[in-house]
Symmetry: C2
């Protein structure tokens, strides 16, 4: 009647009611531990001093987690210091199913995250750096059977990378496959050409508008540190590593946020 | 920074955190009162006697309401009897923003719903019957400034009509416009031809599968009373009133559920 692994949509609720099933077992929502690192990061409720910025990633990532069907567990802001980060990450790995550490954007901060993941257990860090723009400084690891993801500190990069690595993991932990049709993918036409450096996969943020019966994808330009580029964007267009760019008028697939 | 009327997505949460706004005013979720009518309808927890069926629509419609961003308020099952339905609908109109009454499928039951809506206040019933298949026996009315929708009793019809009239109303009450891109619309190719009687708008339930870079829409055949047709379907294809049908291989827009 309803296949195992299906999402309970309104019609499945109707079917269950129709056959008298007033309750049914479901997969528990995975718990995602979220940690922000960086000596310069302060809570949103505080006024940042010179050189400080408010924590954006904890909240943007938590929103993505909830939207993807996970349960966000916030572990707050941790300084770029080995012992402190190790203590908080150890707790997060014990208490949740997937741990996400974002930032700091400095090389030193990334080194601390890298070292802590390796110190917590085997196999530790599996991937350090991905050929994706924006988002190169990404870490993928496994500690005690739990997935650990180190996201870049720049908010827009962090969101693009969370969409690539974290969201599919949450769906998989929720018992959901990638069921077609994927309502996040629409076909659109590029409003302008975009160059892309070869040797990496480029994620171009785009705003989408509908004209007649087709969609136009307009690149949103701006630094990956600017969360405002994500507010203006409706999704991303992927330029594969081997492709040198996109032509104006070219048909593309947009992955909607 | 964020336009009024925008949905707070993960990136908007990030922006708010970044500027130190730890709370912000939002539009309250509209409350949708849900009533099932019909002498033959019983609660899902009960074993139906001869000629009885369990209440499907209250639960399928509640699921649609929550998914669309509304808050479902259940008023349960009411017999096809004027005084009883009037009492419950009066309470629902007072307590909620939009009232939805589904079924009974019999002509007599529809007459009771019609009469009660007209008795509760001006202007009462505005539309009685729509040129849509499935879903002809639909009532649209306004009582005391509140929208009242009478949905057909057949579950699949009720869901298709709720998607046409109720979901857009919930979005409007939530302060959201129809912002492009509409992620519910994908382009697909019909797997087979479908005839359509002229003089009404046909909503063809379809299952969608992806092959290569395009989607194939396969009609799901079955009576509008069968909620199982909705479980197998991923969305609907609309055949406009003036069009006599769809050809196999024709490109169509699928509105995903």
């Amino acid at each position: 009647m309803i296949k195992a692994g299906s999402r309970i949509r309104p019609q499945e609720m109707g079917v269950l009611a129709g056959v008298g099933l007033t309750s049914c077992p479901v997969v528990q929502k995975p718990r995602i531990g979220i940690i922000s690192t960086g000596d310069e990061i302060v809570e949103p409720g505080r006024v940042p001093g010179p050189g400080q910025v408010r924590d954006i990633n904890s909240y943007a990532v938590a929103g993505m987690v909830e939207e993807a069907g996970g349960q966000a567990v916030q572990y707050g802001i941790v300084q770029d210091e080995f012992a402190q980060l190790e203590r908080v990450m150890k707790q997060a790995v014990e208490e949740t199913d997937i741990v996400v550490v974002s930032g700091g954007s400095s090389v030193g901060a990334r080194d601390v995250t890298y070292a802590v993941i390796n110190s917590l257990g085997k196999p530790g860090v599996l991937v350090h750096g991905v050929s994706v723009k924006p988002g190169k400084p990404t870490i993928l690891g496994v500690v005690g059977g739990k997935a650990v993801i180190g996201l870049p500190g720049h908010p827009a990069s962090a969101m693009v990378l969370a969409d690539i690595f974290l969201v599919p993991l949450i769906k998989a932990y929720s018992g959901l496959g990638f069921t077609p049709p994927d309502r996040r993918i629409i076909r659109a036409v590029m409003s302008r050409s975009m160059a892309s450096a070869s040797g990496r996969t480029d994620y171009i943020r785009v705003a989408v508008r509908r004209t007649g019966d087709r969609y136009i994808a307009e690149p949103v330009l701006g630094k990956s540190g600017l969360i405002s580029t994500m507010v203006r964007a409706d999704g991303v267009v992927v330029i594969p590593m081997a492709k040198e760019g996109l032509e104006a008028g070219e048909e593309v697939e947009v992955i909607l946020f």
